[in-house]
Amino acid sequence: MARRDSASRVFVSTLAAWVVGFLIFFPILWMVLTSFKTELEAFSTPPSFLFFHWTTENYATVQERSDYVAHAMNSLIIAGGSTLIALLIAVPAAWSMAFAPTKRTKDVLLWMLSTKMLPPVGVLVPIYLIFRDFGLLDTRSGLILVLCLGNLPIVVWMLFTYFKEIPKDILEAARMDGATVGKELIYVLTPMAVPGIASTLLLNFILAWNEAFWTLNLTTSEAAPLTVFIASYSSPEGLFWAKLSAASTLAIAPILVLGWFSQRQLVRGLTFGAVK
């Protein structure tokens, strides 16, 4: 790292970062701990921190009751598919707006965002009717379509911002060397945009993963992702916090992996920039 980091400064930042990280993370930590408690212990006062009777019975119950793997696969396909397709459409669009802007560019950007302003609940019936007529109810393709279009404006916006950060002279230089636009996109722009694309990918994947309106209302069983899995543990008649915590812990586990992967991309982007 290019910085002159004295040991004491690193120590202070480490301490501060861990304290802040812990505070933000605490509700989730608490949820994960709760998933290993009995329902009775989940809300006992004083709260039990680490010295309680650890049990995995909630996970066993969840495992027995629902097909976690099938739901997780659906989530993966729907969130992954919609994010990737959105990226494929958005990268050229964002490139065009960042590097070949016109007078209208700002209006187009704002208009794109405005397509997200109609509250989903207000258009449920129209969309449900369309889905019924096209046989898209309870299909993964239907959900990929809806979530892809729903997130497209966000993807375009985020990519646009990151592309604007890229110094134009680098592109000019590449063009001078006779690079075509396609080569420019692949060899010059993309590597420089990796951190931006990684964080766009991650955030939109999570948005799609947690999207709980369309995924709940347009699926029954075949295409049901993890949001439906969660809805089967949320608020029944009876105590449910430990079981819901277990189900929810299972539901976030896959994105943690993705989070880890894109973290590495972010760090790589950083060192790349620093070495330059």
């Binding site: 910085r3 690193v10 930042s13 480490t14 802040v20 990280g21 812990f22 933000i24 509700p27 989730i28 608490w30 949820m31 709760t34 006062t45 709260p47 050229p92 669009a93 490139w95 065009s96 707006m97 960042a98 070949a100 802007p101 700002k106 187009v108 704002l110 794109m112 965002l113 405005s114 302003m117 109609l118 609940v121 207000g122 258009v123 019936v125 969309i127 369309i130 279009l149 497209l152 375009v156 916006w157 985020m158 911002t161 950060e165 000019e172 964080s199 955030l203 947690n210 949001t227 969660i230 608020s235 916090w241 929810s248 539901a251 943690l256 989070g259 973290q263 972010l266 982007g269 920039g273």
Partner: protein, 290 residues
Amino acid sequence: MATQQTQTLGRLLLTPAVALLFVWMIVPLGMTIYFSLLSYNLLNPGMERFVGLENYVYFLTDPAFLASLRNTLVLVGSVLLITVVVGTLVALLLDQAFVGRSIVRLMVIAPFFVMPTVSALVWKNLLMHPVSGMFAWIMTSIGLEPIDWFAQYPLFSIILIVAWQWTPFAALILLTALQSLDEEQREAALMDGAGAFSTFLYITLPHLARPIAVVILIETIFLLTVFAEIYVTTGGGPGLQTTNIAFLIYSQALIQYDVGGASAGGLVAVVIANILAIFLMRIVGRSLEV
């Protein structure tokens, strides 16, 4: 650099996104406008009839409308303020060199991983509950009276939960932007004797202007439609203290199944969102200059 050729190419590359979004916008919008002019309850099929603007009049004269408009603005404004300020600070902190970077980053983004209904249920029952919650226990152990969050500060409680969910979003976008900041420039400023604070003010902050504007605009869109958190914690109450526009539309669409009313409400929401977006563009738009 914008030659004729790149201009044409630019349009070509933009077309798929624009065309798709146009269809995606116009079809539901058209149907919604049509439904908004009908008396149409899902539970009374076959009774649809044209009623003109009655649904709009009804929605706009609802005594809950003004209260919910106010709550919506307070909710969106407060969450934006909290997430941008906290998000910037967190991003600056995470940009430092420290031990365990990847893990702490993951911990900080984690709230965004949890589904809104689950976060709301966890916060309400395991943390904020005045009898069995964690916060109540902390308050009692230091000899204070526990706070009855959802009765005393209902809207603030919701703001807290929503801000917690969206801070990671702001932090991650700003962190990514910080990493493209030219390190040499900052080093040079520090060398010239500029303090850490003025370096932040004159070098870092201007660099973050665009990403902050984007965070504000994107978050606004999502925050305008917050309702899961409200539904599972307070059900819009006590009174109208936590009813926002999204909850009002939700209750028309999926509690009363009044498709006509919900469509009208949805279109009113579009108008409000557009006004808000134009207003925000005025404030933050300069940093988006293209």
